[in-house]
Amino acid sequence: MRSFQHINVFTLEEAVSVLKDSGGKAQVIAGGTDIIGVLKEQILPDYPEILLNIKAIPDLDYIKKDHEGLRIGPLAKLAGLAKSPAVREKYGALAQAARSVGSPQIRNMATIGGNLCQETRCWYYRYPHSIGGRLLCLRKGSGSCLAVNGDNRYHALFDARRCFAACPSDVAVALLLLGAEINILGIGGKRTVYLQDFFHPLGNALEPGEIIGGIHIPTPPVGAKQQFLKFTLRKPIDFAVVSAAALIVLDGGICTEARIALGAVAPGPRRFPEAENFLKGKRLETNVLEKAAGIALEGAKPLSKNGYKIEIAKTLISRALSACLENESFNH
């Protein structure tokens, strides 16, 4: 790797202060599973002068239940989330999503904050500098999206306009499903954004000098059943081709609440209100689930090579909903 200065910080406030003083030349490193690869391959034209290690900050890896729900520190590791009884008990989709990421070693290193802030997996964006030079594109601030007229088999079906990179985070899909909020710390103090507002078409809501301070998930509705599913070519290792999460509440066999979220189909994880509304008030027979999946995907705008993701997304939605009906392990 090209050289950088390495700074350990011991409080989040200190981290914010260093970020501010660096004038955009510092980058945060947490688990390192994404950024080290990004730096080694030199995929970005800018290279940080400072790597700011926040792992030295004590007690930021908490997973805490409280009366409002669950609080998760930005340094909570994915392996910990997948194993945590508190997460598995009421936030099963999050445990499943965390467990679906990478390999055991990756999950021992990667943090939830890092998972939300990771760079996209778009293979044009990630093209390695060592083989003829990095590729520039709209997301890097120069040129247009190369996927539009290229091989876009993994790219976005929804909400993309100028950059068609899809959000790679599985954890984000579960967090969206569960209505999570992200607490952000910055120079001006703290602010909170809902997860659906965290991801932007070309990145995320963090302004320069800001950092994720924590994540809060409200207690799911009583009786909610939830399921996260991920479609990949291999079971471990892979990023999602499509991921889906569903949550339903039934009352006497009638659906009173339904949430559907998809990952890897848009610049951020995405909810589908029309499909959710369609389910409410209905008995969830197979044909109803399939209909809802169809409604969800109605607005999809496939590119030349990613149309197949529509069928997969529909299948995952139906299967995630079915699993909610069948799977008792995440009931409470």
Partner: protein
């Protein structure tokens, strides 16, 4: 050799086993040569361009940089077939082609220097598609190869090397056919063999004409010879490290050696050229691109009457192996399909992408993966069970074929029908085969299908091997065979053979380091030739050493050498060895005090024996996602005699790796023709099979003695991949009831075939 063997076929730990599990085995990246510099390559951003100007001034000024080389100051060494690639050129021919070389005190400094080199390119038009490359107005890669066609001659295989399959009367054959199928198929997803260890070479000049290379080489002696001729007949000493996987890709290491040696010459220091995994992906070795268009005529009973077609082969920007692969591929097709009327016309084409070379196999997989789907159309029309077809059509003893040297060879092998039947039985083929395009079972959205593939190769006895076996006075033995360990356990298998010949505990036998200075000529463990060819040379060397030992002992004991035998390091008169009464002497008593004894063995090429593998695969296809689940694989073979069961089974399992079976499921190098770049040069986007996707895997290994050497055995490692891609295609087609011929069968293609995308 009917006597019970002590070592052959017995479970004996590999000689290097403890080193491997302790992390002590020395791979190329573990070697440190004093004063060693690190090399890096500036790689072209353009698929085809001429270097107008290149300025290395700033790079040379960077502290720690010892040399920066461009085409203007590299030595005139040339390789390729026919020779067409120098160290560097003023023309770059693929994205990633080398434009400049740097040697520096560290990897980091070398990389930094690359950023300081300024190159002005004149961009030239590029061509990637094999048919487009053949068009009249196509961009031309090389002046000397008009039409982007490489000549097919492969001089090292002989003056008449096989350049297609031409025999009989094709028109007559088709006229006599009941069923004729015509079509085309491409196997052009260019899977990457990708051994875990990237390739590496360290070069050090001992004198102006004396070069030493350490390399992650599969065939160290072959590397010596290659470099000797390519670099102006210099003297080369080639030493192999432990090789972290090769699958054929670390035989032709001349290019890395060129880079390292040129920098070592410029700096007068040892230089290490070790690729990153990214370079390994994007600037090293892929399978050949293969496209077949033609027709097949058969009788109702499955006899093949005529085969005709064009075989287009895309070898990327360079060829050094492709001509040989065309020759062997054409030979291998004849082993699989008995037919008297042939007209297969290959064309070998260069395009502006990274080079194709040999990959676990030597042309047959590429040809058959594209040919078999066309053949299958004929079998489908005739409703012929492919097992019956292959059983009837695979080469039988007494059948003939044109092999790579252009000569007609008659098979001295065995009938593999028994192995096919046993494989079918273990797999349950009869119960599972429901006919063409018919699933074996359907369960909701899951559809099960089965397929079959077969392959054989008569290269088990290719090329020359030499070996020495040295008997030491302390009753230990050193084998001199220039063989590196690249995963097959062959060095240990040779110890077993020698232990058997000399009736000596295997602990007393070792193999000299794979160093061309201390070992005789060895072509290398390629083409499954390790067991028969290399084995024969070593066995003969051991027998020769044994004969000399007994002759010398005979004078000491005052008997005829014919009356003597040796076991466990003792020499005695035959028939009296077991008893206490017989007179015994130690080796050193027979050899003379502190004397050694050297036996010499050799092997000359023999293409009259083939090996064989049939695979049966069962897949499940989820018709709602298009995902293929490989459920079961049965690999059936007959090896004559098992030398080492663990190594053999490991090799058969290998069909799931190294650009094999999964090139039909998810392995592909994704290419963007607008950019001329591969998009997935990393181990996430390039898909490989993990521990979570292992099918049930059964092996059927028969032991019908072969007329090879005293252990009557043949190797099988090279051929395990070739039968698998078309077998998967067949299985998936049967599962979903739609004929598919588009490798790899990723979910998008399955869903499209089902009308869902």
């Amino acid at each position: 050799m009917n006597k019970e063997n002590r070592f052959i076929g017995k479970k004996v730990p590999r000689k290097d086993a403890a080193d491997l599990v302790r992390g002590k085995a020395q791979f190329i990246d573990d070697l440190k040569i004093p004063g060693m510099l690190h090399a890096k390559i500036l790689r072209s951003p353009h698929a085809h361009a001429r270097i107008k100007k290149i300025d290395t001034t700033r790079a040379k000024e960077l502290p720690g940089v010892e040399a920066v080389l461009t085409y203007e100051d590299t030595p005139v060494w040339r390789a390729g077939l026919p020779s067409h690639i120098g160290v560097l050129s003023n023309t770059v021919r693929y994205v990633g082609d080398a434009a400049a070389l740097v040697a520096a005190v560290s990897d980091v400094v070398a990389r930094e220097a690359l950023e300081l080199i300024e190159v002005e390119y004149e961009i030239l038009p590029a061509v990637y598609d094999v048919l487009e490359a053949l068009e009249e107005d196509a961009p031309q890669l090389y002046e000397q190869f008009p039409g982007n066609r490489f000549p097919l001659a492969c001089p090292w295989m002989g003056p008449e090397s096989l350049q297609g399959i031409f025999m009989g009367d094709v028109a007559k054959g088709f006229a006599e056919s009941d069923i004729i199928a015509e079509g085309s198929c491409s196997y052009e997803n260019l899977p990457n063999p990708l051994p875990l260890e990237p390739p590496g070479v360290i070069a050090c000049w001992e004198g102006p004409e004396d070069l030493t290379v350490w390399a992650s080489a599969q065939s160290p002696y072959f590397l010596k010879i290659t470099l000797h001729y390519a670099m102006g007949r210099i003297n080369v000493r080639s030493i192999a490290s432990h090789c972290g996987g090769s699958f054929g890709t670390k035989v032709l290491l001349w290019q890395l050696a060129f880079y390292a040696a040129a920098l070592a010459q410029a700096t007068r220091q040892p230089v290490k050229m070790y690729y990153t995994k990214t370079e390994h992906f994007a600037a090293y070795t892929l399978r050949l691109g293969s496209r077949f268009r033609g027709k097949v005529g058969i009788k109702k009973d499955g006899r093949v009457m005529a085969v005709e077609g064009d075989w287009l082969i895309n070898t990327g920007y360079c060829s050094d192996a492709a001509q040989g692969m065309v020759a062997v591929g054409c030979g291998e097709l004849q082993l699989m399909v008995r037919c008297l009327n042939w007209e297969i016309k290959p064309q070998l084409v260069c395009t502006n992408r990274n080079a194709s070379k040999m990959v676990r196999g030597y042309g047959g997989q590429e040809l058959e993966a594209a040919f078999i789907p066309v053949l299958n159309m004929a079998l489908e029309k005739g409703n012929i069970d492919p097992l019956d077809f292959f059983r009837e059509n695979f080469v039988k003893p007494g059948d003939g074929y044109y092999w790579r040297d252009g000569n007609w060879w008659v098979s001295r092998g065995i009938d593999y029908g028994k192995a096919m039947d046993r494989g079918a039985e273990v797999f349950g083929w009869k119960e599972k085969w429901k006919g063409w395009l018919r699933p074996t079972a359907v369960d909701g959205s899951l559809r099960i299908g089965v397929g079959i593939g077969v392959h054989g190769n008569a290269d088990v006895g290719e090329d020359v091997s030499e070996a020495y076996v040295r008997l030491e006075p302390d009753s230990t033995v050193v084998i001199h065979s220039c063989l590196s360990e690249h995963g097959t356990g062959q060095r240990s298998s040779l110890c077993k053979m020698v232990a058997e010949v000399l009736k000596l505990p295997i602990e007393r036998i070792s193999v000299a380091p794979p160093d061309s200075l201390v070992n005789p000529y060895e072509f290398g463990p390629v083409g499954s030739r390790g067991t028969y060819a290399i084995g024969s040379a070593v066995i003969r060397a051991a027998e020769d050493a044994r004969r000399r030992l007994l002759e010398r002992s005979a004078t000491v004991l005052n008997v005829s050498a014919d009356d003597l035998d040796t076991e466990d390091g003792m020499i005695f008169i035959k028939g009296k060895g077991g008893g206490k009464s017989g007179k015994k002497i130690r080796w050193k008593d027979g050899l003379g005090f502190d004397r050694t004894c050297l036996g010499h063995g050799y092997f000359e090429p023999d293409f009259s024996i083939s090996n064989f593998l049939m695979v049966f695969v069962e897949v499940g296809v989820d018709t709602k996602t298009g995902k293929i689940d490989l459920r079961r694989v049965v690999a059936a073979t007959d090896v004559g005699k098992i030398i080492d069961s663990q190594s053999l089974k490991n090799q058969l399992h290998g069909c799931l790796g190294s650009a094999g079976l999964d090139s039909a499921i998810f392995e592909e190098s994704v290419f963007d023709p607008k950019l001329g770049r591969f998009l997935n040069p990393n181990m996430l986007d390039y898909k490989w099979r993990t521990f979570m996707e292992l099918p049930q895997f059964d092996t059927v290994i028969l032991e019908t003695p072969m007329d090879t050497h005293s252990f009557q055995s043949v190797g099988v490692g090279e051929i395990v991949n070739a039968p698998t891609p078309p077998a998967v295609l067949m299985a998936v087609s049967n599962a979903i009831g739609v004929r598919l011929a588009d490798y790899p069968l990723t979910p998008d293609k399955i869903l499209r075939a089902l009308g869902k995308a």
